[in-house]
Symmetry: C2
Subunit: 384 residues, 2 copies
């Protein structure tokens, strides 16, 4: 049987065709007016994407590089910081902080849950020296979402504490009102909702964040955001940018605009996520994050008696579809299906049908078509 | 909502990615050893694709051009010919014959049926002057298939009558044993099972067909297959070929070989077709060709109370999926879903799920998921 390779992983996500076309073009030189114009279009588009008038800087690195750039730019060694850890990526905030000598306090949630804003308020009351709160909008290892709006209500009144949000996989898949909520720093990666290859990170910085950056003494060079701020105001990056990726970013942002803007992309992921959750319930696959789920991805336990790894392998072997398995302590227990980025209903419904076929082959008992019936009904309910 | 443009039409079909890559390469010159090597690889691959040792000529024209080239090469003006007409494309054989002054006898089948081999035998017995029998393997306007194997049993014993098969949409989607069955001329188009853009046609010619070509006096120049035969033996075409398309053809043939050959591509279409027919039955959409269906495509009547044009429009508007409507006398009455070429189970199951959503919106009453349940069950039955 013919099989098309398809990624349903929460990054990298499938490339948008206009992105592919842009990547295939002859390269520009980056110290030219032509490229500066592209760069400026991109930073303007990223502001709309993140709903902020703050500067959004374009860095040539992965999302983790963006996280590190954000952290070293707002803290000094020895500074107290709060890391909200609800999964594998939350642990990364703590690890980056420790690598740079910060005094890291961890607020942990059970994997599948999120850390509530009240616990953040309590922690900040307990230790007023905390200079930064670091959190994921979407925790990709569990599919859980933090209530960044509520957490920002806690942080925005404390003038010496900035809120730094890893929205690498959340931005463009879930609501994020950077300016309206008062989020100080947002980090995004290119290979997520924007449907680009990995290689670019985007960091927005509020005036509070820039004030923190002026004070921050953590040694930094490539990730010196103040240096980038100056260069990028003129449409250049301080160091050689990933030129083709920037040209492709312009195409990606134009695609989002053509859809009706980021809200429509968020709505798309919301409908696909809800349809997937409905199918999962009908098929007896428990959600990993039933109370705190986001829409960037859906993480599911295998039904009893079936190995999740066997499902992942069978989808790949029989249909060439790649879903993600578990990370960290959920390794081997779950599967994760992405909704962020360039997916449409036909993609997700097709995947769910092949998931039914695979589950049937693995001996799971359910009515064939039950998951599709539930997913279609949910789709119809949400798109009247 | 995000929508990806998808073609489910029986030509053009989606491009295979290696074809897209090949088309994007810098162009070669066609009077070079490099291109001659590509050309020869293609003719060798086409022989495997059509299961014959006969020469297969590559023409730069659409499938209709290939049909005309075949007809003018084996008949002289005034010659008697038999056109088997089971739909829109059968009528084309008659029209081309009349345009060149042939004495055309039409054997008609109801649309949705095929002309049986016995009627061909009777017609040839009745009129021994008939020099050519012209037929479609797959009649794309109805989804019906002719029993070319049985028809070839009738023609291959009559030394002055050649069998010319339009396999434009049938080859690579349905069984075709050119040599073993004794088919004299086969015509194929590039934009069908081979997943190339339109622009190339392929014509295989048996020794009986070449003998007819020597006698044939129909005026011809661009479509002079004897001239092409001579040029193509040396890896060149008589006139400037569609160079990039030929380079892409090599990639397309390599893809078919990597799947396990044309039989596997045929099996793929067979499973997708059977799954689609199972879904159609479960959803109450009558087949246009219930007795004579092929696997290149499935043609369906709308359920009672629903306009087929409304289904076609809604699939396009809501999901950006293009299925074909009806042609000729079936215009406005049916929809046609392609299986030939670069489609996999995820594609077809995804389309069927969106078809359910659209049917529900249009007021058709059925159990959501019923079509998917039937399609998945049929898929499981056929791929144990």
């Amino acid at each position: 049987m013919l099989k098309k390779s398809r990624l349903f992983t929460p990054g990298p996500t499938p490339l948008q065709p206009a992105v592919q076309e842009a990547l295939a073009r002859p390269i520009l030189h980056h110290r030219t007016d032509e490229f500066r114009a592209v760069f400026k279009e991109c930073t303007a588009g990223l502001k709309q994407f993140l709903k902020t008038d703050d500067e959004v800087l374009i860095l040539s690195c992965s999302g983790t590089g963006g996280m590190e750039a954000a952290l070293v730019s707002v803290l000094s060694p020895g500074d107290a910081m709060l890391a909200l850890v609800a999964g594998n990526f939350g642990e990364r905030w703590a690890a980056i902080g420790r690598a740079h000598g910060m005094a890291v306090t961890v607020l942990e949630a059970e994997w599948g849950d999120a850390v509530p804003a009240e616990r953040v308020a309590e922690a900040l009351d307990r230790d007023p020296r905390i200079r930064g709160v670091f959190v994921q909008l979407s925790e990709s290892s569990t599919g859980a979402a933090h209530d960044v709006e509520a957490i920002a209500r806690v942080t925005r009144g404390r003038k010496d504490t900035v809120l730094v949000v890893d929205a690498i996989s959340g931005a463009g898949a879930m609501r994020l009102e950077t300016a309206a909520w008062g989020v100080d720093v947002v980090v995004v990666g290119s290979q997520k909702a924007l449907a680009l290859p990995p290689g670019l990170a985007f960091v927005s910085m509020s005036s509070r964040a820039w004030a923190a950056a002026e004070r921050a003494e953590t040694p930094r060079f490539y990730f010196d955001l103040a240096r980038e701020r100056k260069a990028q105001a003129a449409g250049e990056s301080a160091f050689t940018p990933a030129i083709s990726s920037v040209v492709a970013l312009r195409a990606a942002l134009a695609f989002v605009a053509s859809m009706g803007g980021v809200d429509e992309l968020v709505r798309n992921a919301g409908v696909l996520g809800a349809s997937t959750r409905a199918a999962a319930q009908a098929l007896g696959l428990p959600l990993v994050a039933p109370r705190a789920h986001g829409d960037a991805l859906t993480a599911l336990y295998a039904p009893s008696g079936v190995e999740s790894g066997a499902i992942v392998k069978a989808l790949k072997a029989e249909f060439a579809s790649t879903v993600a398995g578990g990370q960290g302590k959920l390794k081997g227990q779950i599967l994760r299906i992405a909704h962020l980025g360039y997916y449409d209903a036909t993609d997700i419904l097709g995947l769910l049908a092949t998931l039914e076929i695979v589950l049937r082959r693995l001996g799971h008992r359910f009515d064939l078509g039950a998951g599709l019936a539930a997913a279609e009904a949910e789709y119809l309910r949400l798109t009247p």
